[in-house]
Subunit: 341 residues, 2 copies
Amino acid sequence: MNKKIMISLAVSMAFTAGASAQTLIQTAKNAGLKPIPSDKKALMKLIDNPKNPITDEKVELGKKLYFDPRLSKSNLISCNTCHNLAIGGVDGVSAAIGHKWTANPHHLNSPTVYNAVFMDKQFWDGREPDLEAQAQGPMQAAPEMAISKEMAVKRISSMPEYVKEFKKAYKDGKITFKKIADTIGLFERTLVTPSPFDKFLEGDKNALTKTQKEGLKIFIDKGCVSCHTGVGIGGSMQPFPAVKPYKYANIGDFKGDKESRVKTPTLRNITETAPYFHNGAVWSLDEAIKIMGETQLGIDLNDKEISAIKTFLTSLTGKKPDIKYPMLPAVTSKTPKPDAK
Amino acid sequence: MNKKIMISLAVSMAFTAGASAQTLIQTAKNAGLKPIPSDKKALMKLIDNPKNPITDEKVELGKKLYFDPRLSKSNLISCNTCHNLAIGGVDGVSAAIGHKWTANPHHLNSPTVYNAVFMDKQFWDGREPDLEAQAQGPMQAAPEMAISKEMAVKRISSMPEYVKEFKKAYKDGKITFKKIADTIGLFERTLVTPSPFDKFLEGDKNALTKTQKEGLKIFIDKGCVSCHTGVGIGGSMQPFPAVKPYKYANIGDFKGDKESRVKTPTLRNITETAPYFHNGAVWSLDEAIKIMGETQLGIDLNDKEISAIKTFLTSLTGKKPDIKYPMLPAVTSKTPKPDAK
């Protein structure tokens, strides 16, 4: 082949690739997939809580509370124990383990806190509307942090540095259990992880590899996108299993809301959040993709399709926010003592 | 009083205060108290391990391993669980609680990791010579992280990012249990917290308040300094109780080395590391000071002396190193699964 023809062919292929990438972006958008906006104002609009707007003071305070094990009865468990920001915002075990080494009684897996702000509802059964409401649950749950509202407020109020920070963060400065949870929720709202896929959706045609693009096409064509969509690439309540039984559990293990619906988990950072599903029964992403095809779509994905979808999913692994490990206030003689029993 | 006399008096008082501060610095040094050097080279000489010198790569890797719960059998406990860098390098409970919610069988309290590099020996009974040797213990101990050497190596070796980091940090690049512990130990060597007292010892006469200086005098005069000395302001093996019984425990709770010696804990950051003593029986610093007078020195410190000593001790609360919370490698299909049993 002479040089001229080669160049011409290369240009033409690039043009075709460019054009088809543009088509794929449009197809993805039409299917409801949305980026984490790179524009800071647009992002803030998306993650903020109008009833309790994000400020630097609240986020910093929320971060401290998120990492503070004194918010558990035993002094040993913090939000970060089960939603560990160092390992994808999860705990890497099938069912959460909390106070007195108690496993979650419904054998539920800890979902990631990263990008949880983009979920329609919180908890696997979708019983809470937002992160602020969610944060109240695990603190009080007997098999999790096991603290009472009163004890949480007593502990935090006993440390002058926290008293000062609540005054800085809130006009009335009062420390209440609701405000502790609200502040943790606000911090959690900031835990978003932009990924190559977001760049792609925003128009960077080269942000995905060829195989990732192929995987994305299959992901859309096969219908995965019908639940895994929006900015969260998941987050809505869906029937589960929808078509065929889930082999690792009877749905009796987990009765969702009135219609037995389960929250669709986000696929962002899915390469880091094994084990999978509400009961953490599946460790392999390949197997998880296969099962989803079966139980939710009633199709048999072949190995090549599974592999392509998995490669697409790697483009959802995002950049985590830089977190300076907080130095927490010291306890005082007024701080109620820990109780491991 | 006319202006001239007032000025002259003020100058004279300042001179006297300056002179007596200088004397106090000298007295403190003569009594064996030493600063954490502000000079970086001098500090490095003090904390480095000649057999495995500190490098940025090793410290960064050691930090990751220190925070990594996959180094426990359950995937739930890291070094940072009991030596939490956010709360003074301790866990804030009387006796350490680990795997399967098991309390330390000898009811031993987790000592702080901050400034532990300055201790003569490691563990309450001084059975290990340095932090590298110490780090091997809790990982394997059944009531702590409960992992076997083999499993620790398998877990870490299964994550390609760790494999890469070990290659960057060490010439031979091999991952061994010893090297995991050595690297954690190296990170721990960097956890030093310079305080106002160090500035004072280095000549800044105003680094301590008047009351802190008075407390320091009493601290030296009464003999506290005979054990709480050196850079660590503690760290040597001492008979305990030395003079009178310790009311919270029979020494049967804890038999130190052959001569029933217990490691003198550091007083650095003591305001942040309650509860106190090897069995964590005492929550109040005032009470701890009083008991030390009785059991170790055979004296009754009065309330004023206790208060002055306590005020001096606040000058030992130091600046913690900035720690960027690490993002840890993701598990792979080769990573051995967690086992909470």
